[in-house]
Amino acid sequence: MITSTRNALLLSALAAVCLGAAPATAEPATLDAYARQAQAEDPSFGGFSAQRGETLFRARFASGKAETPACVTCHGDDPRMAGRTRAGKAIEPMALSVSPNRYGDIAKTEKWFRRNCDSVLGRACTAREKGDFIAFMTTQ
């Protein structure tokens, strides 16, 4: 009985290690959802582009709120480094290599795109823009 409990513990520990290590290379689940949505929004959608994502990440917009002209205003120029909110609090790095759990939760991902696209661009982002953005972060 004791042995089987110990085996079960060992197995679950092993599984946790494997699962914990996996997301660093795996694509976030949200990308699939955004790909389906992008296809529905635009039948000529031909896949996400990390390059377009980087352009979006670095672009400055005059269409949003004056305090937040760009993603990099708060997230910083290097996605592998922590950003900082305007109130001074640290923001976990955006790059998937450093923050492997990012973009895994669709509700959380949507919440921040909803808020931040409105703050920075002054409008909602399209599914393609969101996917491009995450595609860029998976390369970082």
Binding site: T85, A87, G88, R115
Partner: protein
Amino acid sequence: MKRLLPILVCAALAAPPAMAGEHYPPVTDRLTLKECGDCHMAFQPSMLPARSWRALMVGLDDHFGENASLDPETARHIEAYLVANAGDVSRSRGFFSWRSGKMLRFLSDSETPLRISDLRCWKRMHDELPRGAFSRANVRSKANCVACHKRAAQGDYEED
């Protein structure tokens, strides 16, 4: 003298901070800690009156220059917590809780401040700081209490 009085009383309240310290009951609501704390320390609700919290929660689409909107259910929960623990509400609960509303002394009923740092008491407590103190790289904002008050999240605002 009449104009000086509030400042003097406020100064007296804030005067022996190294010993007595400024204390505000810390936030205990999990959702409030999480959602407000995503961008800044979840400020103690007793630092503003209930009407201020209501006004803030109505305006989350443009929260000091950012969209900080929440789903309606979460927003309702957080607003109820903030209002129930607001400075003017908790102060009326009895003698032993009067201190938790001290940030609101001399605030007139016609004012609805949206920033704690706009309160006269707050300004008086910070007026000895050099110009530019809040724009230093490690501070950045008057909303960054923890930059100087290391135990601010626990409600302790001793002068560090």
